[in-house]
Symmetry: C2
Subunit: 193 residues, 2 copies
């Protein structure tokens, strides 16, 4: 098969794209991304057919990375609310805060890519798959509460939004990080339970 594509090079491009897009937004040029990855202008297009394809892949990658840092400890079992769903959700909550703290560039890049018109509905649907467990957990949390008629998408979106708000609060007042994290989680629990 002649010369194979290099997984590390593909990864370099992704990593560079995350940084460059976090800094400059979606408008960043493929040339800039390529240079940041140490890859020629042309080579970038042997790994991604178009810029739109790159953005779609990036979206999937970022969502997947976030999912692996977030869902790893969530058991899929159908634990009743009384017996630990709250604690499970708390784990997810802190995992997401941890992701945002440890991967700030990924978070910024995801915020940019998420609003891109180049990211298709198909891609968005695909990216939601790794969160099936989290959605199931959210479902269990609200099943008997005041939000029993709300949709899973509503809850998922709210969790993300509340994470964002919490992260912002922590950024403004870092010494109160733990307090904000608890306040945020309690608010989430009150809202959805």
């Amino acid at each position: 098969m002649a010369r194979p594509k290099s997984d590390t090079k593909r990864n370099d491009i992704m990593t560079a794209a995350i940084r460059v897009i976090a800094e400059q937004g979606i408008g960043a040029s493929t040339a800039t991304i390529g240079k940041a990855a140490g890859v020629s202008n042309g080579a970038l297009f042997t790994y991604f057919e178009t810029k739109a394809a790159l953005l779609n892949q990036l979206y999937l990658e970022l969502k997947a990375r976030m999912a692996t840092m977030t869902t790893v400890d969530v058991p899929g079992a159908n634990v009743p609310v009384e017996n630990g769903a709250r604690e499970q959700l708390r784990l997810v909550w802190y995992a997401m805060l941890g992701w945002a703290r440890e991967r700030p560039l990924e978070r910024l890049a995801l915020a940019q890519v998420s609003v891109s018109k180049d990211v298709t509905d198909e891609t968005r649907a695909l990216a939601a798959k790794p969160y099936a467990e989290v959605e199931a957990l959210l479902d269990r949390c609200r099943a008997k509460g005041a939000m029993r008629d709300a949709s899973p998408a509503f809850l998922a979106k709210m969790v993300l939004a509340m994470v964002d708000a919490t992260i912002d609060s922590i950024a403004v007042e870092p010494e109160a990080a733990d307090k904000h994290a608890e306040i945020g989680f309690d608010a989430l629990w009150r809202a959805i339970h």
Copy 2:
């Protein structure tokens, strides 16, 4: 003073920018916006020095429009929570839902412009001013509750996020609009009270 600038033309450009950016995102060209406004390429730049300036003005305008539809009925008086803060917040909640329903293009455009790197922190701070009353109301709502230590920015962001989530739910299931609106508001109240 020779020939004065036309307020209606300036407004045409703004309106066109809202539509074009809602459809195409921030990447939309000034030429496209000008054409949609029925204004020549050059004329656009007599009203806005640069594209960045246009985006900043657009952000201010959109935030202001939303504020006027949202804050008009919120009394600034320091009503105690027990005597109607909940009802005041409910008014704001439905006003925001109304804005989102009646001005979908403005909402889409705002979502795009909000993430633009061209919109400065100064602009963002300025745009927050018309919401002082709403923030004060939110402050009163949470003053004695579990979120008494959270920041106003946190609450404001949460309200917007929950409006977004509610709008999305309504879009998916329009026949249950009223139900979703109530569920969303109750969740908000539980979260922040």
